[in-house]
Symmetry: C2
Subunit: 454 residues, 2 copies
Amino acid sequence: MSEPKKLILNLFEMNCVGHITHGLWRLPGNHRREYTDIDYWTTLARLAEKGGFDAIFIADVLGAYDVYQGSPAPALREGLQIPNNDPMLVVPAMAAVTEHVGFGITFSTSYEPPFAFARRMSTLDHLTKGRVGWNVVTSYLPNAARNFGLDAEIPKSVRYEIADEFLEVVYKLWEGSWEDDAVLADPTGAGGAGVYTDPAKVHPIDHVGTHFKVAGPHLSEPSLQRTPVLYLATASKDGIERAGRHAEVVFTGGGALGPTAEATRAVAVDAGRDASDVRFVVQAGVITAPTEEEVAAKLALYRSFASEQGKLIHRSIPIDAFEHPRSRTVGEALEAEGKSGDPAAASLPLGLTVGELIDAVDEAWGGRFFVAGTPENVADEIERWLDDEGVDGINLRQYHSFDTLTDFVDLVVPELRRRGRLRDAYRDGETLRERVTSGGARLPESHPAASYRR
Amino acid sequence: MSEPKKLILNLFEMNCVGHITHGLWRLPGNHRREYTDIDYWTTLARLAEKGGFDAIFIADVLGAYDVYQGSPAPALREGLQIPNNDPMLVVPAMAAVTEHVGFGITFSTSYEPPFAFARRMSTLDHLTKGRVGWNVVTSYLPNAARNFGLDAEIPKSVRYEIADEFLEVVYKLWEGSWEDDAVLADPTGAGGAGVYTDPAKVHPIDHVGTHFKVAGPHLSEPSLQRTPVLYLATASKDGIERAGRHAEVVFTGGGALGPTAEATRAVAVDAGRDASDVRFVVQAGVITAPTEEEVAAKLALYRSFASEQGKLIHRSIPIDAFEHPRSRTVGEALEAEGKSGDPAAASLPLGLTVGELIDAVDEAWGGRFFVAGTPENVADEIERWLDDEGVDGINLRQYHSFDTLTDFVDLVVPELRRRGRLRDAYRDGETLRERVTSGGARLPESHPAASYRR
């Protein structure tokens, strides 16, 4: 009998007070208000490492949510992803107090120059000894575009085109600019003058494309992983295309994984990769306690702090949903507000009633990858996700920081280990890529980035 | 009798193997080759804090030095500022293991968007509890321009124009976007719904200028200092103009401080600031040991590892100086190499001989702010810099990491304290600005950034 499939275990985070469980920063004892404090992050990282987490996966946005009610005011009131701080800068602090846990960092390809980003990620890969991943996103908030010199959001197709070229540039810098043996660090070479780097093994990239022009060479010497572990989210057809070609780990929301995974793996295989080179991690909610009664009490307490409005703000719903009768359709509500042509309306389910929209929109409290139960119930459900839903791992949503994490570490982790679903310990010196893929520290030869190697 | 002037004490660093004492990475026991390791930085920060340093001042470049011999090869061989890593990302690691020492971070206004930078610095000011400063630079390497989409360096006048607007944008974000009492973090306000931020107190900046267009609001809530302590380097007339208006600390090279300081303070006063609002920190070299004999031995050892060529690479000297007779003038050498029209030749002293150029170009081993001596000699000299040269502080150059620092901490710091030239201890909770200026945690009202406050 083959070994049971093991879980990739990530903690889902964001450098802000209100990430994804809207309203819950108000829970007594919740430390989320301390997100500006370095101790919040070092405590979190130590806990995650204690529990054997693979990585802390840090989301990000570059603007305020201002579609709902046509203003950032609701998001500000709720502390919903604003204020927020930079996701990358908490990583070195966490790395300084840990040895194993990895870090998935969200960075958008739409607004900042690839050359500076490539050096930042190389720096982090050095400082963490190969523990970083990059969540490649293209940003979706109209306000973000306006913060970076544009009048409106870049159309999705152009964002994706920019993303493709951005990836090409950073692959060239990470994989193609410095050969493995470029750095000699030889204090007595060249007749005593010393040679730090052999210049013959460092190459400019001379990239000239549609959106970027970058000479190089890369400024950083090669780090353990060179290219960080590549996370991509899929949703649209274009997203699946890109994920199939580039992603090592695909991160998805709450829907059924089957069709997305199948489509993504088909793209991967077409591109010459192995179907198993792409892993699927879903955002998941786990509320647990030793007994059913305690679980019910905890769930009730948490839910009592949930913000109904938060989910509408977060989903950029252009209608003021609570102002309409629940039986009205979304299409009628849009018309009543004179917003049928609003760009934010394009992705709305027009036939649903407003009541259904309000009830359906939030996955924090239900859906396919949510479980509230005893550690045994939770482990059963996670095993089902692994075996029946095609899931390779989870990004654990936090309801309460740090209780969600400590509950999982103290109660669920031992149960998953008993069942052989989670490795028993970290391996010393292992990079994040070695831990979450079947390959080595570097991308496999079949990955498109490898084509830029010399 | 008034108290003697106290020294602002910074450690000069860069995230690379070879910063400014060229060739000395080869010194036995020098830890510079470990710059990619997080432990290098945490060790360094702890030592600096043990010695009561005000800040670790981290230089940066965004390209390779490739003027000397028309190629990056000499810089690569020497490990001269390439490879290098990002300066900002080592700060959170150092902050995680210290409580007091500050961090001066070099960042160029020429190539990256102000909106993202503003959030990064706010994030650092939060994580460090007000311990960060920004060394405002415009970059000078032609290769840097080519790494960011340009064909050649932006002309200095345009770089300065961009810098002025960049400062305006980040001032608006840091000082004008969030009012002091915007964040309520009130879990029960608004009839139980809770209010994190009062939206009426958060403002877009709606900046529309020549080089930047930024909507805002700033994403980060106010940090202790809001605007980081502002360091600027002066050299040219334009540099003095800008430093006089914006700088809280001016960082200069090796020349006489008098005329520069006078000119900068005159600009400051014209701009409505106080002459004492601008402090002057010089790059300084200190080699010390308990006895004269040990000092001489250490100096001789260090010098024996110095690279003659390094200084020519670093200064972007376009002539291959060692290939010419020492008696030839620089002008003649340029002509012999057919480089009289080379842009890099513009700032060269054409009448000097090549021999004089080679001997004069390096300040690491001499010049106005260099001393090799016993702790008493060093303290005497530093007192002279403070009292007679108009200096307010030093950026201590490292010859050997960590010996330069530990020598200074163990031998010179106690002597300076005995003489009342260095404060005896840090004050708990003090921001970097409170420590190095006479004001509070925030910029004074007379500073141009204050005009964007509400």
